[in-house]
């Protein structure tokens, strides 16, 4: 039998039993579409979180004062470790390392910002010129903090986009003097609007030199130090180096915590990927159910069409030709259902994407491929039993069935 004839014969059968064809297509399509939509959501969540973390900076190590690890109870309880402050001198000490590309000490506080009659409470971030590079931020206009000695308290500030609009409206702010707390600062730059980056919204910030922040808040202690390692490979060595250096400077106490961003990132990445696979796997079960539906309906079809099978045998169709005919029906059904499901899944993604534009939705190719693969495989596997049953039918009984 020619391939084209097999296809047209299958087509005529499927066309005749439209309800049953439609139901199987629907079952398959729902299965495939749910795999696609669920894995897309999972992947989108993963990409979103990873993207958020990457916007913090690459090859980043974060040095936080105080120890968050517990290493055995007794000594620390006796000594009662009080964390020493991280100071600008600590930060400077860290720059003298081959593993460190650049560092940015960070102080954070809150102060009232005023210009003319407008007054507003806003977070104030004290740092250095290197922050811009470490965090991959962009300037809207003007320039960032001046380079040079990090302990120079220059009275300049950079406004976040939203804060700038609230204070100045459409007026230009560059070169104007504003008041932060009880000091005056000259506006030298405006930050470009960035998306939210975890913890801080750049849009609301005022950024001033770290030394100015120290005198503004009257405190030498840093909130944290951001360290950018020279490359990805030296991150563990850089971490060790930072711990050693600070230990030396803090009278032998390891009273800081170094978080490597890559560690957090890869943990999240793994968790979310596992989650995606899990929901995808649950959705795949629905395909298995659809496969059983195919088998069920094909079995009914075999008993409905015994006369036809008997006739085909009488006309000279050998058993394996009948298997081919019935299998091609199962394959056609599952393939068409899968294609329909891919279309529904993509449409679903578009609709979800319309309501949640922030989610980087997009069906991962491996999910589409495996959904279609599983659909066709289960369809074929479950079509095999009815096909064999059809082939084994006794033609005499089949023909006298009417």
């Amino acid at each position: 039998m020619r391939l084209l004839d097999i296809l047209s014969y299958t087509g005529s059968t499927l066309g005749r039993y439209r309800t049953r064809t439609g139901l199987i297509l629907l079952a398959m399509a729902i299965g495939v579409a749910s795999i696609i939509i669920l894995t897309s959501l999972g992947e989108a969540a993963r990409k979103y979180v990873v993207g958020q973390f990457s916007s913090l900076g690459t090859n980043l190590l974060i040095v936080i004062p105080g120890r968050s690890e517990t290493t055995g109870g007794a000594p620390s309880m006796i000594v009662g470790e009080t964390p020493r402050d991280l100071t600008l001198d600590d930060a400077k000490a860290l720059t003298r390392s081959a593993y460190v590309q650049r560092i940015a000490p960070v102080m954070i506080g809150s102060a009232s910002i005023s210009w003319k009659q407008l007054d507003r409470e806003a977070p104030v971030l004290g740092s250095t010129a290197a922050l811009l590079d470490i965090r991959h931020w962009n300037m809207d206009s003007g320039r960032f903090l001046p380079r040079g000695e990090i302990d120079r308290a220059t009275p300049v500030c950079i406004l976040g986009g939203k804060l700038y609009r609230e204070l100045f409206g459409s007026e230009t702010a560059l070169g104007k003097w504003i008041r932060i707390g009880d000091r005056r600062f000259r506006v030298i730059g405006i930050m470009a609007s960035e998306g939210r980056s975890i913890g801080v919204d750049v849009q609301d910030l005022v950024i001033i030199p770290v030394a100015s922040a120290q005198s503004l808040f009257n405190s030498p202690s840093l909130f944290r130090i951001l360290v950018e390692a020279r490359n990805r490979d030296v991150i563990p060595r850089a971490k060790e180096h930072i711990l050693d250096t600070i230990q030396e400077r803090h009278q032998g106490e390891r009273d800081i915590t170094v978080i490597t961003q890559d560690a957090i990132l890869s943990t999240f990445d793994r968790i979310l990927r596992a989650l995606t696979l899990t929901v995808g796997g649950i959705a795949a079960i629905s395909l298995f159910v659809a496969g059983i539906l195919i088998m069920n309906i094909m079995l009914v079809s075999v008993s409905q069409r015994t006369a036809e099978i008997g006739l085909l045998k009488a006309l000279g169709a050998p058993g394996n030709q009948i298997i081919v005919l019935f299998l091609s029906e199962a394959i056609a059904l599952s393939l068409a259902g899968a294609c329909f499901g891919v279309a529904v899944g993509m449409a679903g993604n578009l609709i979800i994407g319309h309501f949640y534009p922030d989610l980087p939705l997009g069906a991962p190719w491996w999910a589409v491929a495996s959904a279609v693969g599983i659909a066709v495989t289960t369809g074929t596997a479950f079509g095999a039993l009815p096909a064999r049953r059809a082939a084994k039918l006794d033609p005499v009984l089949a023909l006298s069935h009417k």
Partner: protein, 235 residues
């Protein structure tokens, strides 16, 4: 052409063994016109199915063109059915979703013949059956007689040597039944071996050789020397 020797066919019904065919010996020469008659349950349909390779004997040998066909594989038997044997059934057995022409093309499709040749041959045969204007009708748009003629066209499209008809008029009124019989007889006149199973004596006696079966045995086999009906046939 057909040689049956000591054919037995038994079925197991519950714990009882039913002897559907009991020691059948039969020879059929090419071009013969044979009718098998007998009450229902006498084994005539079983014999026909066996001749058509739809069933295998429990014991005995069946030589078709001097070849033992009972030992053939499923594939070879199917091939023999496709090329050497045509079937005509009481209930026509046309596929309802296919048109008359497509039904006729079905055996050629199973054989892998190219679509062009298929439609040409099917058109010719349907023309010969007087169904040129019914070619693209589905079975439910055809009368019983027309359906049976489509079925005969399908049975003969592969130019088989033997045509097996199981109660071909059983589901037709007497007029269209007679038409169908005449078509079958015409085919027989052209050399086709025709074997008809019927319990209608009027149909049965038209054959040149009648076989009577009772309880799975051939009780009477008679060959007419004069075919009185032949004169009335249009030729």
């Amino acid at each position: 052409m057909i040689q049956l020797k000591g054919i037995h066919r038994t079925f197991q019904v519950g714990d009882q063994e039913v002897h559907a065919l009991n020691e059948i010996n039969l020879n059929v020469s090419p071009g013969e016109y044979l009718s098998i008659m007998g009450p229902s349950g006498s084994g005539k349909s079983t014999l026909l199915n066996l001749l058509g390779l739809l069933d295998r004997p429990t014991s005995g040998t069946y030589l078709l063109n001097n070849q033992d066909v009972t030992v053939l594989s499923d594939f070879e038997q199917a091939k023999t059915r496709r090329n050497k044997i045509g079937f005509v059934f009481q209930f026509f057995q046309l596929l309802p979703r296919l048109t008359a022409q497509e039904n006729v093309e079905l055996p050629m499709m199973l054989d892998g013949i190219a679509p062009n040749e298929r439609s040409q041959r099917a058109t010719e045969v349907l023309d010969a059956m007087g169904l040129s204007d019914r070619r693209h009708h589905r079975p439910d748009q055809l009368s019983g007689g027309q359906r049976q003629r489509v079925a005969i066209a399908r049975a003969t499209i592969m130019e088989p040597a033997i045509l097996l008809a199981d109660e071909p008029t059983g589901n037709l009124d007497s007029k269209s039944g007679l038409d169908v019989i005449k078509i079958l007889e015409q085919l027989n006149n052209k050399g086709l071996t025709l074997i008809i199973v019927t319990h209608d004596p009027e149909i049965g006696v038209r054959a040149k050789r009648h076989i009577h079966m009772i309880d799975g045995k051939i009780v009477e086999s008679r060959t007419d020397t004069i075919a009185e009906t032949k004169d009335s046939l249009p030729s």
